[in-house]
């Protein structure tokens, strides 16, 4: 480390990312998490190819209401006679895409805001951090509910409302990381070599600040999925007839004594997805943590 690499020009490039990948591959639970999430992602996002939304997912079948699991309907039917498994798969597509979109949105904005705050410092930094404090002071669920209540309940509004509560946290982390990175001497060295400020930020400071952020981002996807379910459960998330796990739980709760499978299976879907994301996030955190011994 630190020695000149010029002696062996054909050596395979070893960067933080390849090291991380190797470490992850060796971490059994991270692999399990990755595999689970990959299966879930594939099943959900390939669904338009094997499921027809109109006929398989939202078409009521008044003859087959709330049936027990059978060969035809592997997980049973819901209160409108629709196949629960199909709805869980399609609902996963909706929930995961919204969660991903919200996370990407809040991450991108959070990174930009945090980087700006760290780079310019002084007044801009103070102002941004105070505003972030204000938004972090409101309980996130309450903030989300308020935002969704005042806007129309469309998918894009949901994404906006959910990302707002995540932005300050990410901005804070990025800012903190960047501040510590920017104090490093090698930034001075790069500056001394004549690099422009944008280049410094993007090519040097930012990548080093990002690695602890990645696992945080993955975990926050899991959190967003729970949040969407919560919002749909109280009725202000995804609207019928589109399936959503939390909404399915809400709809099924009146029948919990006689047909508990209406609520059990969507709940299990949430748990499995969140578990896989958590394992993945933990694996990423361990893999990218430079302090961990190899």
């Amino acid at each position: 480390m630190g020695q000149t690499e010029a002696v062996r020009p054909h050596r395979k490039k070893r960067s933080l990312w390849t090291d991380a990948w190797t470490r992850m591959r060796r971490n059994r639970s991270a692999v399990i998490g990755m595999a689970m999430f990959a299966i879930i992602l594939l099943a959900c996002f390939l669904s338009p190819f094997y499921l027809n939304y109109e006929t398989n997912v939202i078409q009521p079948d008044l003859e087959a209401i709330r049936q027990l699991p059978t060969e035809r309907h592997v997980l049973g039917t819901d209160e409108l006679g629709r196949d629960i498994l199909n709805r869980i798969i399609w609902g996963g597509r909706t929930s995961i895409s919204i969660a991903l979109a919200a996370t990407v949105f809040s991450s991108v904005l959070g990174i930009i805001i945090g980087a700006v705050a760290a780079y310019y410092g002084n007044v801009i930094d103070s102002v941004i951090m105070r505003v972030a404090d204000v938004f972090m002071a409101i309980p996130s669920m309450l903030l989300m509910i308020t935002l969704v209540s005042v806007m129309q309940p469309t998918a894009s509004n949901l994404v906006i409302a959910m990302s707002v509560s995540g932005i300050p946290g990410i901005a804070r982390i990025v800012r903190g990381q960047m501040l510590s990175v920017m104090r490093n001497e090698y930034i001075d060295a790069v500056k001394g070599m004549g690099a422009g400020s944008l280049r410094i930020v993007v090519q040097h400071a930012l990548p080093n600040a990002l690695s602890p952020l990645i696992s945080q981002i993955v975990s926050s996807v899991a959190g967003e999925i729970m949040a969407i379910s919560g919002l749909s459960f109280i009725g202000i998330g995804i609207q019928a007839p589109a399936p959503e796990w939390g909404a399915m739980l809400a709809a099924g709760r009146n029948y919990i004594r006689d047909q508990p499978y209406l609520t059990t299976f969507p709940g299990i879907a949430i748990v499995l997805t969140v578990v896989s994301l958590t394992l993945l996030g933990d694996g990423l955190r361990d893999a990218l943590d430079p302090r961990m011994k190899r």
Partner: protein
């Protein structure tokens, strides 16, 4: 299955005039489950059946209705109508307020006079030309003959004038009434506790303490009765069936006045076109969707309460016919290249019936979006005539046929006529029914209105409901009125 026992006991108590001065009220306490405990105990302001149910033990109304919706005595012992715009109420004797003051004629007059300042009762107040009292008779002069006014008195409680004037706004939640119970504790939004009044001049209450709790989760209501946390609750149909096998729990099922409907905004496209409206009614599979309800619903064919003399099963009633609906729409120019699209407004969350309706409409090429708004936005949409289709339900508690007729009357825009339907013929029929003294004429007007309703379809009725209740077998004498008012005045609890 237990049947209800008696008529509303206030009437019984008032008439039998048992001078139970030395007797104390019964002991025992029960807990009653409601969907929600409101934030205001004045039944005129709160306008919720649950609140009226609770307060029917604390207040006496001017007039009462029995389970057949016949008018019987309340705080007013009798009434006469010397001419079409005059009503004379003779005050009942022996009523006493909880603070010991006897009920006087000015209290009866005040019960009506104060409505001037109650915005929720504006339409009732607006009918009164003048009020006066003489001896033990209150004379009400109406602006014009009105057949629903007398019936409306069954929702108006008698208040102590001197108390209300001195208490100001606090009168509502620390009420003084003439009923057999006093309010011992009131936590708005959470619970009401009623305590039997020992000095009640008529037959005292059989149960010492009534505690009302609000539980909004349907499954939890029955669970409370099962666990013994409560002794009386309205329940869902599946719980009603489940309760049959529980020997510690009695059940009751009876008709209610709940009327569910689908309503369209007739003042704007696309529902200003009668054929489109008819297509919508044709696409609604009333029989089919019944299985989706958690309650014991039955199909109704009129906004008028079935079983009353004013109800008529019109020959023009529309039945489920998807093909005919599609034909009508095609004739109006809607097809694959130009599909009919609209939004159905709701506010109460997941509605399986509307989802099934949406699917049926989709199968004939109609694109429906179900949108749940927050209640405020929903009301605004409705009042500003900005909605297209909405779904709702209400309950007529006084048995007044004219409220169903008002659905088609331009004078009730936004109140009963939420379709904003404008038809001079309907207005004429409503005015006649309102002012006519001839019962046969009123019935004929109602029939014609129901015929027009199915030919014009501004809104169409969907379901009525059999209300299900579960209660502790040791609880007897509960009066369950079809309007949803539950009275424990004559009830006994033998534990």
């Amino acid at each position: 299955m237990k049947r209800t026992l008696a008529i509303i006991s206030a009437f019984v108590i008032g008439l039998t005039l048992l001078a139970g001065c030395g007797q104390k009220a019964g002991a025992g306490e029960i807990t009653v489950v409601l969907s929600e405990v409101g934030n205001n105990l004045d039944p005129s302001i709160a306008n919720y059946t649950d609140t009226s149910s609770i307060m029917s033990h604390v207040y006496d109304n001017i007039i009462n209705v029995d389970s057949k919706f016949e008018l019987i005595a309340g705080a007013a012992a009798s009434w006469e109508q010397p001419d079409s715009v005059t009503i004379e109420l003779t005050m009942g004797e022996g009523f006493v307020f909880h603070n010991g003051e006897p009920m006087e004629i000015e209290d009866l007059e005040y019960a009506l006079g104060r409505l001037e300042n109650v915005p929720e009762m504006a339409s009732t107040w607006g009918k009164i030309e003048s009020l006066s009292s003489n001896g033990n008779v209150v004379t009400i002069t109406l602006k014009e003959p009105d057949n629903s006014f007398l019936r409306g008195l069954s929702a108006i409680p008698v208040l102590d004038k001197s108390y209300c004037e001195s208490a100001g706004e606090a009168y509502a939640n620390t009420p003084i009434g003439t009923g057999p119970y006093k309010v011992a504790e009131y936590v708005p939004g959470e619970r009401v506790v009623l305590q039997a009044w020992d000095e009640y001049p008529f037959e005292k209450a059989g149960i010492g303490k009534l505690t009302y709790k609000g539980i909004s989760e349907t499954a939890a209501k029955y669970m409370a009765v099962e666990a013994g946390d409560a002794q009386f609750s309205g329940i869902s149909y599946s719980d009603y069936q489940r309760a049959q096998s529980n020997s510690a729990i009695s059940t009751y099922e009876g008709p209610s006045t709940r009327t569910a409907f689908v309503c369209m905004n007739t003042s704007a496209a696309p529902f200003d076109n009668v054929n489109v409206r008819m297509a919508m009614a044709l696409a609604y599979n009333k029989e089919g969707y019944m299985a989706l309800s958690a309650n014991n619903d039955f199909v109704i064919d009129s906004m008028f309460t079935p079983g009353t003399v004013y109800h008529n099963s019109s020959q023009y009633a529309i039945n489920y016919d998807l093909d005919k609906a599609r034909e009508l729409l095609t004739a109006e120019g809607y097809d694959e290249s130009n599909p009919l699209e609209f939004i159905v407004a709701g506010y109460s969350g997941d509605d399986p019936v509307m989802q099934a309706y949406q699917a049926d409409l989709a199968s004939i090429g109609v694109k429906v979006t179900l949108e749940n708004y927050e209640f405020g936005t929903f009301l605004n949409l409705m009042m500003n005539q900005e909605y297209q289709m909405l779904t709702g339900s209400w309950s007529e508690v006084t048995g007044d046929p004219l409220s169903a007729a008002a659905c088609y009357w331009t004078g009730s825009y936004g109140e009963m006529n939420i379709a904003f339907y404008d038809n001079p013929k309907c207005d004429e029929l409503y005015e006649t029914a309102k002012t006519s003294a001839d019962e046969a004429e009123i019935i004929a007007c109602c029939r014609e209105l129901q015929d027009i309703a199915w030919q014009e379809v501004p809104l169409f009725p969907t379901y009525g409901r059999y209300a299900d209740y579960a209660y502790d077998t040791a609880l007897t004498g509960v009066d369950i009125h079809p309007s949803g008012i539950i009275s424990f005045r004559a009830a006994k609890y033998s534990k």
